[in-house]
Amino acid sequence: MLQIKNLTKIYEGGVKALDNVSFDVPDGQFLAVIGLSGSGKSTLLRCINRLIEPTDGQILWNGEDITKASPEEMRRIRRKIGMVFQHFNLVHRSKVITNVLAGRLGYINPAWSLLNRFPKQDIQKAIKQLERVGIADKANHRADELSGGQQQRVGIARALMQDPEMILADEPVASLDPVLAHSIMKHLEDINDKDGVTVLCSLHFLDLVHRYADRVVALNLGQLVFEGLPSEIDDKKFKDIYGRDAERVG
């Protein structure tokens, strides 16, 4: 159970990216986070694993307050939270398999990773994850030789290596074409269904939200403006979320 309580983030310079946001996410839920660009979706997801330090508020995960965790506790928490990014964020010059193995870094003793050593079972596990997302044949290619859709699958495999209990997906399909978008979303859905991993996924297209999400939260200018089922987003709610001039396209 993830509980966000009165979360606020004010950036240096006074921009209020999150304004007193509170909601809960039960274990195993597929939660979509929607809102305009700049509404605070990315900030919200990055506050949860503290890539961004929240200014105020609490994030309770299984009763533990993430915002108060020490660096060592943070390492333990982060390794249970996988993250998938809009621009994939692979290390381009490294091999695909190395990118996937990087998902184990939270478990591995730093002294050994200095020597670039991974345990054998991790390497086998990495191959298995690549098989699961369907690109095991690319394991020894350089990451930047892969197409966008393939790169995002590597990103997912990397998150899976963490044995995650939760995955934060920050607009995972925003730079992909619609067909690829569905294939990536299906992988996330599969992980959510089969492994029982909680997924928080920020999305732009409402048809994807309807198709994949169990529940939706919507942000506008850092404030929570909607919380409920995807089917509850009618025209009025849509204008609340996206502004009066917005028109539905999908």
Partner: protein, 615 residues
């Protein structure tokens, strides 16, 4: 909108005046520059300057690389300076079977012009025409005709003025014509140049290699994007500051103790051999047990203490191995120096490497222990801050920040004492201790108990200042210091270039680290990787190409620098070059300049090929 366009089109008087003033200012600046740099072509026009310039340019155009064996033809012809009153004694007819000279007239007053005609010499040869006084045949007088040349038939005709050497006796004009024989061969200058240019290239290679190795870690702590997120609470900072000196002293003592254990067996090669196999193996086993590759659950306290113990012992065994390795290298090196003959430099390499390992191991141990203790104590500080209540943290901070400030400033004071020998313990010890203590106390009183301070940025600024300071000292100046430290020779030059390479590469590298993509960094951090792992897996892969190209560029710079580092005694070709310039031996200097040009040009070519291949 239109109004504004019109405004922009028309130049306002104000702008015109500004432009005029700027041009005027520019003229004044350059005029003053001319004055300061003493631009003056008057000297260039003078005949004397032009003559020497021509001479030097011609010498430079003929580098002394090849030469012929030479055969000399020496022919003397008698001449009387002041015609004897009694008339000229009958002179023997010149031997016309070989080359001969005819002087007309055969006698004249000093300062008068006579004509020398040469016959039957080898065609197209050259050499000096000189005057041999009758009274002292060894005291040859030059006549300003040092380069007479024969034509295709072996004939020449020259006029010259007789010197003021009047004598009753017969005197001589001597033509010494030199002829090239055989095939050209390399001059001694060419051989010396080759020796020194090889020295130069290797000097640059070693300086670049050592510089690169040390610049890489420095470049990470001089990179703003990596250091900015590093923040720690005051207690942690104070503890790690105390940990450094303590750890260095302890580490040094412990490693010296290990050295003491190792030294009785230093000369025993079988023990050396066994040790360097067994020690690393033991260490590896220990490390593997103490540092499990993956850990899902937190180990119990007793296991952790056990692990620390095993880790400590393993590291000690490792250091023992190091010392044994150093002894082995020295032994093998010494054995190999004589029998290896021409390859004896390999033996020397082993011996010197062993010596270096032996010397730097205690220093390395001190640093490692300092770092380890500092980070361990920093963690204790962190934990304490987390666990205590704010009031207690504040008290804790005040005590330890004061202590840390006093320690650091006290040590700095001791350094000042050592450098300047002030010999007043108030200024160099108690004063700094007091100041440091007060500074620590003030910092602790003004810091909110649980706040974190930007440790990373402070380290970043200190490193940057240090790098900039050292970088501003040219390698040539550093070489002077190193010549004093290790004596004249290429080693001093290598040290100077190496040091300069470290600081300038660290700066260039760190700017590359600052410009890497933030995305992969974020992704690796999100997996729970700690700082070290983030650097290894997200930073290093991104910076390899620019690091390679900067290293190449630096090698190129070092080759060029090493050509002049010899000017101050740093070895390499610069020493020869300077010597020849000072001796006005421009043809030899020219050979060295050619060598430098060839090396620099081929370096550029090689590095561009390598860059294309690997980047």
């Amino acid at each position: 909108m239109t109004e504004q366009n019109n405004k922009n089109k028309k130049a306002s008087p104000r702008k015109s005046i500004q432009l005029g003033l700027a041009v005027l200012f520019g003229i004044v600046v350059y005029a003053y520059g001319f004055q300061i740099t003493k631009v003056d072509l008057e000297d260039l026009r003078s005949e004397r300057r032009q003559e020497s310039l021509t001479r030097v340019m011609r010498a430079l155009a003929k580098p002394e690389i090849f030469e012929y064996e030479q055969e000399e033809e020496i022919v003397n012809a008698p001449v009387y300076v002041t015609c004897p009153a009694s008339g000229i004694p009958a002179l023997p007819e010149p031997d016309k079977s070989g080359p001969y000279l005819i002087i007309t007239p055969a006698c004249a007053e000093p300062g008068e012009t006579v004509q020398v005609e040469g016959f039957s010499f080898a065609p197209n040869v050259s050499g000096p025409l000189r005057f041999v006084p009758g009274s002292d045949p060894t005291n040859i007088v030059t006549l300003g005709r040092d380069n007479i040349e024969t034509d295709a038939t072996g004939h020449f005709i020259y006029e010259f003025v007789l010197p003021k050497r009047s004598s009753e006796d017969v005197q001589y004009i001597r033509a010494t014509l030199k002829q090239n024989v055989g095939v050209p061969h390399l001059t001694k200058t060419a051989h010396d140049t080759w020796d020194k240019i090889v020295e130069t290239v290797f000097l640059a290679l070693l300086a670049t290699t050592f510089g690169t190795f040390l610049a890489i870690p420095l470049s990470f702590i001089a990179a703003r994007n990596l250091m900015k997120p590093v923040r720690s609470p005051l207690a942690s900072i104070a503890f790690s500051l105390l940990g450094w000196p303590l750890g260095i002293v302890l580490g040094y003592l412990i490693v010296r103790f290990v050295e003491g254990i190792s030294s009785p067996f230093a000369g025993n090669i079988p023990i050396n051999l066994v040790s360097i196999v067994v020690a690393p193996a033991l260490m590896l086993v220990g490390l593997r047990w103490a540092l499990p590759q993956e850990e899902i659950t937190k180990p119990s306290t007793s296991t952790q203490i056990m692990r620390w113990g095993v880790l400590f012992v393993s590291v000690l065994i490792g250091f023992y191995g190091f010392f044994q390795l150093a002894s082995l290298f020295k032994n093998f090196g010494q054995m190999g120096m004589v029998p290896l003959g021409r390859l004896s430099f390999l033996g020397n390499f082993l011996f010197q490497t062993g010596d270096i390992v032996g010397i730097i191991t205690p220093a390395l141990g001190g640093l490692a222990a300092g770092g380890a203790l500092s980070s361990f104590m920093g963690k204790i500080g962190q934990r304490t801050t987390e666990k205590l209540s704010p009031v207690n943290v504040k008290l804790f901070n005040i005590v330890f920040a004061t202590l840390a400030g006093a320690t650091v400033f006290g040590l700095l004071g001791l350094l000042v004492e050592w450098l300047y020998q002030i010999d007043n313990s108030f200024y160099t010890f108690w004063g700094p201790v007091l100041t440091g203590g007060i500074l620590g106390l003030t910092l602790a009183s003004f810091t909110k108990p649980k706040d974190t301070l930007p440790t990373g940025l402070v380290i970043y600024y200190i490193t940057r200042t240090f790098l900039n300071g050292l970088r501003s000292i040219e390698a040539l100046v550093m070489a002077i210091v190193f010549v004093i430290a290790v004596g004249i020779g290429p080693f001093a030059g290598m040290m100077a270039l190496g040091l300069h390479t470290i600081v300038s590469l660290a700066k260039l590298y760190s700017e590359q680290v600052e410009s890497i993509m933030a995305g992969p960094l974020e992704a690796i951090q999100a997996t729970g990787a700690n700082r070290l792992q983030t650097i290894v897996y997200a930073v290093i892969p991104q910076i390899i190409p620019p690091y390679i190209s900067y290293t190449m560029y630096r090698w190129d710079i070092n080759v060029r620098m090493s050509t002049i580092i010899g000017f101050v005694g740093g070895g390499g070709i610069g020493f020869l070059l300077q010597q020849n310039i000072n001796l006005l031996n421009y043809r030899a200097a020219s050979a060295q300049m050619f060598a430098i040009a060839i090396v620099v040009a081929s370096m550029d070519y090689i590095s561009s090929v390598l860059r294309e291949k690997y980047v």
